[in-house]
């Protein structure tokens, strides 16, 4: 018979302030198989843990139940205490009477106490049926993958490489650099973005431990921490990158056109193009959607022959290429090629995109002179469509009055409730750069409120006031399109309590930061989760900001939530540090709370086999009959097979049928 010890925590007044802890302890003492019940002010404190250890050492208990906060944070602590006391740590169960009782039922102390008793009884019921489990270890592949080649991904990859780990840097665009490469200058120091980023891009690309896979996307991820098998699709560039020198001759001759993504659609690029002048690697790509197949040179077709000269008629791009990197006679697979790699840990740094202006109906989205802040960034960048001159899109004239509108789609229940966090600062930066360059510009900035938390940030903002930039508190309500491509701004001045109405030449929307395209699919491939805000969910909002629920998978940068460059870089370095842990250790622990087949019970129906999301179940012949087997390193313990198995042959350790039935019985007693 089990000897269960129940330990009820006050958690200071967190629990004790609502729940009658003594009453719960007394109740627990009366439950079957409970050998003793104690209470303590803080069970997670050293002295609290010592209580458990001592009772185990004294042989008073052989199963432990702690009624306290949530197992999601504290189970490892108490399991540790059990282990130190000499008890198999899986003979431990937690009753959540804080997060799911005292904190939420403060209005009803009696109800909360009654509920706490039931929850304790449920935990005791489960504890009665717990079984000791063994942890196993597997070896680790000493390599890492970083998905996303922006400043976050580059930083993380460099850190891992410097620690000596082989690192694959996967980027979906033809060049690394990400959003930061699109920026003109960076706050609060107004460094030139390209000046500080380009050297890092080059260093990452040429680092012996980094293998950069550009124009590539993650196709599939299988496996688990220490042993991920990743399929990467290298998209078809239609240019032989081994030969391409990045001279750009093909782009010069190419007549096909498409909106330039790097310039946020403000200009056109060619079908054959190099992403941007400082691209790393500097390689050309042919965009087949924009390619017009000059001279009938569809991919894989033989060239026509000039009747006079007898020479083959080539497309301008291949003719122009001095390195012979373009050969349209080759039948190149439009799906590209699949490369398989094995890594021990993965960092996701897939960045962000900004919402398009078409989302904001009140903001005259049809006007060419309403642009997003990222578009403005290109408009003022020396590598942008105007060579760095501020010219408004409708007529390429210099604007006189500029309006900045904050919180477009952020802090808005119709779109995103979160604050996009770095818009205030970049708007101020853009305003300052423009005011410096064109002192006669009238710049009006409209904010709900100005958020400049960060080192030297508020000084940057107050400095902008000194420069003569106008700040208004109050959200812009809408824009009217006027003749001459001007816009009428309908705003409100909170301080005065009055409406504001004026004409503006160019309106810049600080639109919300969102997950990059394709991130949802990527998440599904990796089993990652989103929060309500549609960013990747970290393991813990405070204590696990770079880890995820999938062990071995880490986060850096805006894919976890909006953040500026310094924060992204910090997080990337943090992610690199934790991602290196399994690689440095060389082995990882396998959680034993996974499923197992009791072969004697298995009828071999095979129902379980296609259900497993990880392909962990196979049918093996035992005495000539098919019987299910589960690979421990692949199983993640979801229990779908356990529920489906009609022969009761599959057990999920830690969530056994008798354990759950006892919990139900306890809760309905």
């Amino acid at each position: 018979m089990a000897k269960i010890g129940v330990y009820v925590c006050h958690c200071g007044s967190n629990i004790g302030g609502v729940i009658d802890v003594s009453d719960v302890r007394e109740y627990a003492e009366g439950l079957p198989d409970v050998a003793l019940a104690r209470q303590d002010l803080f069970m997670c404190s050293d002295s609290g843990q010592e209580l458990i250890k001592q009772d185990i050492r004294d042989g008073k208990v052989d199963r432990v139940v702690v009624a306290a906060c949530t197992p999601r944070t504290h189970e490892p602590i108490f399991r540790g205490a059990c282990e130190k006391g000499g008890l198999n740590k899986f003979l431990f169960e937690m009753a959540n009477i804080r997060d799911q009782a005292s904190w939420v039922h403060g209005q009803d102390p009696e109800g909360a106490t009654a509920k706490a008793k039931k929850v304790v009884s449920s935990a005791v019921g489960k504890a009665r049926n717990l079984e000791p489990l063994e942890e196993k270890y597997v070896d680790v592949t000493d390599a890492a993958m970083v998905i996303g080649g922006g400043i976050g991904g580059i930083t993380a990859a460099l850190e891992l490489a410097r620690m000596g780990h082989k690192t694959y840097l996967v980027e979906k665009d033809p060049s690394i650099g990400g959003r930061m490469a699109q920026l003109d200058k960076t706050f609060p120091t107004n460094d030139c973005s390209a000046c500080i980023l380009t050297p890092m891009m080059v260093e990452a690309y040429s680092h012996p431990n980094i293998e950069t896979l550009c124009y590539s996307e993650v196709e599939d991820v299988e496996g688990y921490i220490g042993n991920f098998k990743v399929k990467i699709r290298q998209k078809q560039s239609y240019v032989n990158w081994d030969k391409c020198t990045g001279c750009g001759a093909c782009a010069e001759k190419c007549p096909g056109k498409a909106p330039d993504e790097f310039n946020e659609g403000l200009s056109m690029r060619r079908a054959a193009f190099i992403m941007f002048p400082q691209a790393v690697p500097k390689k050309a790509v042919i965009d087949m959607n924009a390619c017009i197949n000059c001279a009938g040179r569809t991919i894989g077709s033989e060239p026509k022959v000039n009747a006079k000269t007898g020479n083959p008629i080539l497309a301008p791009c291949e003719k122009a290429c001095p390195a012979e990197a373009i050969n349209r006679s080759l039948m190149l697979d439009p799906n590209g090629t699949i490369k398989e790699i094995e890594v021990g840990s993965i960092i996701t740094a897939t960045g962000y995109k900004v919402m398009g202006k078409e989302n904001f109906k009140e903001m005259a989205p049809d006007s060419p002179n309403v642009i997003t802040a990222l578009q403005l960034e290109r408009l003022i960048s020396a590598t942008g469509p105007t060579g760095g001159k501020l010219l408004r899109p409708s007529d390429h004239e210099k604007p006189h009055t500029l309006t900045f509108v904050s919180c477009m789609g952020s802090r808005d229940k119709n779109f995103h409730t979160y604050c996009s966090r770095f818009c205030c600062m970049y708007m101020i930066k853009q305003a300052r750069l423009l005011k410096e360059k064109y002192p006669d510009l009238v710049i009006n900035m409209h904010f709900i409120d100005i958020r400049t938390a960060g080192k030297d940030y508020d000084e940057y903002y107050t400095g902008a006031r000194d420069m003569g930039i106008n700040f208004f508190k109050g959200k812009v309500g809408g824009l009217d399109m006027l003749a001459g491509d001007k816009l009428r701004v309908n705003a409100y001045d909170m301080e005065n309590g009055e409406t504001i109405e004026y004409e503006s030449d160019l309106v810049i929307l600080a639109s919300a930061v969102e997950m990059s395209d394709g991130t949802t699919e990527l998440a599904q491939k990796m089993g990652l989760q989103f929060c309500g805000s549609k960013f990747f969910r970290e393991l813990h909002p405070k204590l696990g900001p770079v880890e995820t629920a999938v062990s071995g998978l880490f986060l850096a940068g805006c894919c976890q939530g909006p953040k500026d460059i310094p924060d992204t870089v910090s997080q990337a370095k943090g992610a690199a540090a934790v991602a290196a842990v399994p690689l440095a250790q060389g082995k990882v622990k396998i959680d034993p709370t996974i499923s197992e087949v009791v072969t004697e019970k298995c009828s071999g129906c095979g129902i379980c086999e296609p259900l497993c999301p990880y392909g962990a179940i196979t049918m093996k012949k035992v005495d000539g009959k098919p019987r299910a087997m589960i690979a421990i390193s692949s199983c993640k313990g979801c229990g779908v097979c356990t529920s489906a198995c009609p022969s009761s042959a599959i057990q999920l350790h830690g969530y056994m049928e008798e354990q759950i039935l006892e919990q139900i019985a306890a809760l309905t007693a």
């Binding site: 999601r72 309500g532 629920a549 999301p613 979801c638 999920l652 809760l667 309905t668």
Partner: protein, 137 residues
């Protein structure tokens, strides 16, 4: 308030259980009707457990999982949905009020939603009255 219904909740540890914890962090108030049984995935919840809880007199049963596309185990919640859709129908076909059974997708970020779901479910159960099978056996 007529009575506090007894709700047995099965909550996947990644989403709904985390959502319930978050409700605590946010100090969201809801009636002490629900008691959660933590499972790794809503796909671990056998329909039999729901029936067992009702047979033992639970006034309501909640199965909480992740939103579609958010399952920690890729598609466990789809399996759950297949089963629970049929289970609701089965309850009705057996002459047991299927409103006592709820399937909800509550993410780990939806603390307020958890509180709201429990509040609404509790109110609905208060309207329905106690489980007619309660107290038997």
């Amino acid at each position: 308030m007529s009575f506090t219904p007894n709700i047995v909740g099965f909550a996947c540890q990644w989403c709904t259980y985390a959502g319930a914890d978050l409700a605590g962090n946010l100090r969201a108030k809801y009636p002490p009707s629900v008691k959660l049984i933590k499972v790794p995935c809503s796909g671990r919840v056998k329909p039999e457990y729901v029936l067992e809880a009702f047979a033992r007199g639970a006034d309501g049963v909640l199965v909480g999982g992740c939103h579609f596309g958010d399952c920690h185990y890729k598609d466990g919640n789809y399996k759950t949905k297949n089963r629970t859709d049929m289970l609701s129908q089965l309850l009705e076909d057996m002459g047991f009020d299927p409103r006592r059974f709820r399937q909800e997708w509550i993410s780990g970020a939806e603390g307020q939603k958890f509180a709201q779901v429990i509040t609404e479910f509790t109110e609905e159960l208060q309207e329905l009255g106690p489980n007619p099978l309660g107290g038997q056996e």
